[in-house]
Symmetry: C2
Subunit: 361 residues, 2 copies
Amino acid sequence: MRPTVHDIAAQAGVSLATVDRVLNRRPGVKAATRLRVEAAIAAIGFVRDMAAANLAKSRVYPFTFILPGGDNSFMRGLERHVREAVVRPASDRVAISLVVVPPFDGAAVARALDAAIAQEPAGIAVVAVDAPDVMDAALRVQASGIPLVTLVSDLGPACRDHFAGIDNHAAGRTAGSLMRRFVGREASETAKVAVLAGSMLVRDHRDRLDGFKSALSGTCTLLPVLEGQDDPAATERLIADLLAQHSDLAGIYSLGAGNRGLIAALRRHLGPRPRAIIAHELTLHTRAALEADLIDAVLNQDAGHEVRSAIRVLKAKADGIPAVDAQERIRIDIFLKDNLPFADEADGNALRPFGLASGEN
Amino acid sequence: MRPTVHDIAAQAGVSLATVDRVLNRRPGVKAATRLRVEAAIAAIGFVRDMAAANLAKSRVYPFTFILPGGDNSFMRGLERHVREAVVRPASDRVAISLVVVPPFDGAAVARALDAAIAQEPAGIAVVAVDAPDVMDAALRVQASGIPLVTLVSDLGPACRDHFAGIDNHAAGRTAGSLMRRFVGREASETAKVAVLAGSMLVRDHRDRLDGFKSALSGTCTLLPVLEGQDDPAATERLIADLLAQHSDLAGIYSLGAGNRGLIAALRRHLGPRPRAIIAHELTLHTRAALEADLIDAVLNQDAGHEVRSAIRVLKAKADGIPAVDAQERIRIDIFLKDNLPFADEADGNALRPFGLASGEN
DNA sequence: GAAATCTTGATGTACGTAAATCAGAAATTC
DNA sequence: GAATTTCTGATTTACGTACATCAAGATTTC
């Protein structure tokens, strides 16, 4: 049996009340006594039962999550993970309210942030849009003393307490390394590689492109970046034109959303496809494309990890404990056809048993 | 505030005792009443507070973990994660005793299993050695009604309740796919690829080799498999000889331990190294080799995930709840130089704050 | 030496659930 | 209709911690 507060009291020869005062840093304990108690704690190796402590405190952490709406598969998966966290009771004592705003609408995000401030939550997590009014709203959040975490898409260190997402420059480099190797050395310098982005206005996409370029660094010829604006039909046309014009295209890097259009164009395309197609985010679509050999690799950020990490960080901030950033670094997953995880782990289409949280990683 | 058992009782118009009987599947409740209570649970969206439940149960699950000793970096990382679970109090109520046995010693593993049986734990996890006496001991464990989980290395479905490890055939296929693409198409058929194994007597290694071959399927010429027997010096000589004899070697797949010898040989080697070097398990050594461009890719299984998964499964078995296998599937991570996680996440050389579990993913 | 302050002990309630006990009520059997 | 059996209610204790209150002892202050 693990030692309890009673054991500390016995060991230190003090009362339970005194142990409690020491443990919870309450005043009214002589320095000498405090040392005795702390020695006893160390001696018997006491660790506070957080579950019991939280139960006794019956403290709840009201958090607000702000996500973009729309039909982006990744965002919908993210939303599912947030909803899962909403109903998960596991010693978390977290009460999450979820706000969905129109996608790519900075003003809407800013309004949602201001509305959240009024609710006085213990923390806010937001999928940010890189716009001035959002940054202003973020500064207002911080000014009101509410911890703020950006999710997936960052705003820069000045506007938030923590970023729960991947290092997008590293993701771009990873894509570049894969591209370089998949394309092969022989034709490398003359090999044409295209990049498909949603919009260069989003910070993540810019970072990925920078990383991609730096990893490729002169081994390939980069065509001008195509911007699909997250519109499947437009993206499909762009890619179809691209394939028609460059029959010798060596690779495509799709660094944002818009995979549906890309995949549709590839599926329709006759003749040999480029040697290397690399995309982001494992969804039903990219998964199917991987399995059908339409795509070669998918880089992924685990939405579930990001949500749980955001919650952990917010809780730590709310308690005034510094978050251990190294622990909260989100990994960049690489998936080939061969190492695909089960569908229900990757995206949000399978239900879990009632009241059970997912297997934590 | 979240609804509690009291709210269910009020809503269903029954007593607390009856709610408890329904919740904990105790007998003595009429079918009709049970339905009423379940309807009330669904109606008010009750979810059991697991922290409080575990506290009240004050149940502990004594588990025994049996790991191989030796200086294998991966196994030491695994041991660290087990030790971490030992001191983790978080609502787990798990009491783990850790047994370290000599590596590659089937008899020792069998003895440890029998010794564990005598302790009557609620479950046993073992890094199995694929030997007849181990299988016999495993069967004795099962005969005594103790749930058994194999960790990292399997024994086959007949001898255990669950395997907490990666699909090694899939891992081999993944390595094969990467190899094929890294080597390039032009020289493919004549490209020579070597495989380095610890010993073909271990099941995991055989599975990986099979998967590797199937993914390569005639696109490369496979040299005879080298067996380094986990001896760094011997492995280094093998690789040095290999590099000397085949100056046109296109790739090396190191499918087991012995990476230290491989890396040492590569570091000493003068002249161009093979285009593609792929190894298993992210350790300090493979990490450093990746960063130094001595290795191109590392496949990894997350030891922390495996340990936590094993604990979850053992607990579920102990409670008579069927484990949800899909949730417990361990992923095959691919790491390039560019998407390396922080050092202390990958292997076991950084200490975590006292009493804090790792981020779970 | 009396008053004020600081320190400690003793005790009780609370959190949400588990589990046990005992007493009735209802349904079933003969 | 009496004797069983099955079901349900009421109540209590416990888990490990937090937190508040009151009393009393120890120490300091003037």
